[in-house]
């Protein structure tokens, strides 16, 4: 079923080896343990809060502390290998210590969004059957509602400034507690609650046995929850081998541009698969330094991190790049040490990519991936000229196919649903054989994304299959319309959805946000006139809605589904 001649292999050039080497490691725990020895004295993680206060852990410290946490899980909590451990932390020094400790204990990491509501938490913890929860102390007030409904038998609390030097840590906690009043008291629960430092102390008292020696590549490493089309979050089962393969793939595509001397800005949340693999695992594997930003919103929170450290790589999504360039401090003084940026998560708008290049003098290379594929599927080779709008070529070891409704391959140059096969493909969805059977067939992942491949093997995503707007029988891809809208100076950001329409079945509706830095007022008429100039008539939005902001996911993807839900409610009311 694959694209028979694999035209993308030619695009690899001399820089990219077409064969994916098997990882030298048997498991992530193996990799972590070895890397912490090799780079012992180097700085692994630095966490920077908005006022510039920071804390750093070296590779040796990360190795030691994650050993202690692993011992805590195995010997104090008495977890068997393969037990699920839920981690609900924003970016900070606690995250790598805890996540790596989970791997070293042979347990399975369940990444959880810190902003989840109690209902969402209960769903994720019961679905995964997690037994230990490590949660940010900022959200301890949710525990009372949650823990009783789950199998959790131990809670560990970690602070945003965990492992900072003593005075800055006390100040950050003091500010949270007395100034912003964001630090709730620890509730009394039926299960024991410990602070992370104390858990490490307990772990230290036990012998550090290498429980992970028995781990193999096809053992489960993560349950990575993803919304998917049905709306109910389900856990993609990613193995140690999946992640190991994917970080090899990232490293091959990064080639000589990535090294242990690098410093990567990690403003995207680590509980999301993009930053987890690209930042946390790949740059750690290289012996590089991660600059962790607990919350990139408002974007100004990143300012001190970029000013104080020689950031050479940035991973981000369209909204983050756009947000950075709309900050004067960034646009006027972009980081001099920057080599390149990696974009993913959602479509990168042409206008944003071009402006980024103009502002920073470096390229932003777009990649494509999904939770089910650990995540990277395709990436733009860094040594080739920028192909605007392309998500690049499949990474080594990855096969792709583009198919129509009958799962027959489409002609070259025609849009089809993108299917992916490779060593980074998940085992399936946790306890959901039906969903697995739908998404995963004969090793192929059905991505639900419509893509086109050019003759050189470069892919472009046309849109999400389910986001297509059908106007009088014509397909309108929201991405194309959004891209057109983003070219208008007065538009900060835009989202396009389909709404019911009496005459055309569906009609295009655009939500636009005024760019505050442009003195001209955004007007519906100007937007429509602009679209008429560049788009076929049926693609031009029939209604324009001005908004102050658009709904976004934790990593900053614009959530069309929320706008659709709003529109559904609105039209249901009219019917």
């Amino acid at each position: 079923m694959t694209v028979s001649n694999r035209p993308w292999l030619a695009a690899y050039g001399a820089e990219i080896a077409p064969d994916l080497p098997t990882s030298e490691y048997a498991s992530l725990a193996h990799l972590i343990s070895r890397t912490c020895e090799t780079h012992a004295k180097r700085r692994a993680f630095t966490c920077v809060v908005p006022n510039g206060m920071n804390g750093t852990l070296t590779y040796r410290q990360v190795g030691q502390m994650s050993d202690e946490f692993a011992s805590f899980l195995r010997h104090h909590c008495k977890l068997a290998p393969g037990t699920r451990v839920a981690v609900q932390l924003p970016n900070g020094l606690a995250y790598p210590v805890v996540a790596f400790g989970v791997f070293k204990a042979g347990c399975v990491l369940v990444n959880t969004n810190p902003l989840y509501t109690p209902t969402e938490m209960v769903h994720q913890f019961t679905d995964s059957d997690a037994e230990v929860l490590i949660i940010s102390d900022l959200f301890a007030d949710k525990l009372e509602e949650v823990v009783a409904h789950t199998a959790i038998k131990q809670v560990v609390l970690a602070g945003v400034a965990e492992f900072f030097p003593r005075i800055p840590e006390a100040i950050v906690r003091g500010v949270q507690k007395f100034w912003s009043r964001a630090l709730p008291p620890v509730p009394s629960l039926a299960v024991p609650v410990l602070r992370l430092r104390d858990a490490l102390k307990i772990g230290r008292a036990h012998d550090n046995v290498h429980d992970w020696d028995r781990l193999r590549r096809d053992d489960l490493a993560l349950l990575q929850y993803t919304g998917g089309t049905t709306g109910v979050a389900k856990g993609a089962m990613l193995t140690h081998g999946n992640i190991l393969a994917n970080l090899e793939q990232v490293k091959i595509m990064g080639g000589r541009h990535m090294s242990g001397e690098d410093c990567v800005l990690t403003a995207l949340p680590l509980y999301h698969i993009f930053a987890f693999t690209a930042n946390l695992m790949t740059f750690f594997d290289l012996g590089a330094r991660n600059i962790l930003v607990p919350s990139p919103r408002p974007v100004q929170n990143i300012q001190r991190a970029l000013e104080n450290y020689p950031v050479s790589w940035i991973t981000g999504v369209n909204t983050l790049f756009n947000g950075l360039m709309n900050e004067e401090w960034f646009a006027a003084y972009p980081p001099k040490t920057l080599k390149a940026a990696i974009a993913g998560g959602t479509a990168l708008h042409q206008a944003v990519a071009e402006r980024w290049q103009a502002v920073t003098g470096t390229r932003v290379a777009e990649g494509y991936g999904l939770t089910e594929t650990s995540p990277l599927v395709s990436f733009n080779p860094l040594d080739q000229p920028v192909r605007v709008g392309s998500i690049g070529v499949p990474v080594p070891g990855t096969d792709i196919a583009l198919v129509d409704h009958n799962v027959e391959p489409v002609e070259q140059g025609k849009p089809g649903e993108l299917l992916v096969k490779g060593p980074q493909v998940m085992l399936g969805y946790w306890n959901r054989p039906e969903d697995t059977a739908q998404t995963l067939q004969n090793g192929w992942v059905f991505t639900g994304d419509v893509a086109i491949m050019d003759e050189d093997g470069f892919l472009s995503i046309v849109d999400r299959k389910k986001d297509l707007v059908l106007v009088s029988g014509f397909n309108v891809y929201p991405n194309e319309v959004e891209d057109c809208l983003a070219k208008l100076d007065t538009v900060l950001e835009a989202a396009v959805i389909g709404v019911p329409d009496r005459t055309s079945g569906e009609a295009v509706r655009a939500y636009v946000v005024q760019n505050p830095d442009v003195p001209d007022k955004l007007s519906k008429e100007a937007v429509i006139a602009h679209c008429r100039k560049y788009l076929a008539a049926y693609k031009v939005p029939k209604s324009i809605i001005l908004r102050e902001e658009l709904p976004k996911s934790p990593i900053g993807k614009i959530l069309r589904k929320d706008l659709k839900a709003e529109a559904r409610a609105e039209f249901a009311g009219k019917a």
Partner: protein, 301 residues
């Protein structure tokens, strides 16, 4: 009057405050601020053109004696106080603008305060023993710039130290006012009782009128409501403790008593008036945000 120890303590506190102010920014913040300098220029205009003139008008209109005129003029000519940043924060104003205005007005004060003082002092007929030597003011300000520069350097050297110093500095901004009140009021309550109502009126209204004018000057020059509120607070809130320090370092102990009256009263009342104004501004800011939300919903077809 202040004892020598208290004066020294006041000087040290001012230095810590300036150290904190320096640590709150980087050289780049300056460069960025001056790429679009309009907000700051508007702020400077209301700080050094509007306020001193208001001070002069009040002094003349109320027919104050020379000792009080000097105190009032000095307060009117002072740069912005660092406490204004806290009020800007609570009023949901533009914090960056507030910090920059405080910094820039403090720098500009080295030249502006001596010039303005001798100009308005001359106009108001203050002379002889009551005239504050221009060199004195400039000297004190220059001395205070040393910790400011040191603060910036500390921030560059170590971000943790910088941010800690910044925080201590802003606490000190409040502490110094408490210190002044605690040392001065108990010894001078008789003086407070004897002080006529129009002197109270002058000290309270200089801050309030400054805020009023600051707001409308900013609005008139095209600043939005949020920036105008920030400029308004910045204009009305002067560096009272600095005025006290200048006086204690410029006048004999015997003369200090009277000259200090207005700066002390000002420092006391500005905390109260700013709190009220901040609460009011905060409500306006919230109301505007709600109105924007409503407008959003209104645009739905």
């Amino acid at each position: 009057m202040l004892t020598e120890l208290e004066t020294t303590l006041l000087g040290v506190m001012m230095m810590v405050i300036m150290l904190g102010m320096g640590a709150s920014m980087t050289p780049r913040d300056f460069l960025i601020a001056f790429r679009k300098p309009k907000g700051i220029l508007v702020g400077l205009l209301s700080q050094f053109a509007v306020m001193p003139f208001l001070g002069f008008l009040l002094a003349v209109a109320l027919g104050l004696p020379p000792a009080l005129v000097v105190g009032l003029l000095l307060i009117a000519c002072m740069p912005g106080g660092t406490t204004s940043n806290i009020f800007a924060y609570f009023s949901k104003g533009v914090l960056a603008l507030s910090i920059m205005m405080t910094t820039v007005s403090t720098l500009a004060a080295v030249v502006m305060v001596p010039v303005l003082l001798s100009f308005y002092g001359g106009l108001a007929g203050v002379s002889g023993e009551y005239a504050i030597p221009a060199g004195n003011v400039a000297q004190i300000l220059v001395v205070l710039l040393v910790p400011t520069a040191l603060g910036m350097f500390l921030r560059k050297l170590n971000a943790n130290v910088g941010a800690t110093v910044e925080l201590i500095g802003s606490f000190m901004g409040v502490a110094v006012i408490v210190f002044l009140i605690a040392t001065w009021v108990p010894r001078n309550y008789q003086l407070l009782l004897d002080t006529p109502a129009h002197v109270y009126a002058a000290t309270i209204s200089i801050g309030l009128i400054g805020m009023l004018f600051g707001y409308w000057v900013a609005r008139g020059l095209g600043q939005d409501t949020s920036r105008s509120r920030t400029i308004s607070l910045e204009t009305g809130i002067q560096n009272g403790p600095l005025a006290v320090l200048v006086i204690t370092l410029s006048f004999s102990v015997a003369m200090q008593q009277e000259v200090l009256l207005i700066p002390f009263l000002y420092s006391l009342f500005i905390v109260l008036t700013s709190t009220v104004i901040t609460l009011w501004y905060r409500r306006n800011a919230t109301r505007e945000a709600l109105a924007r939300d409503a407008a959003k919903l209104g645009t739905a077809p």
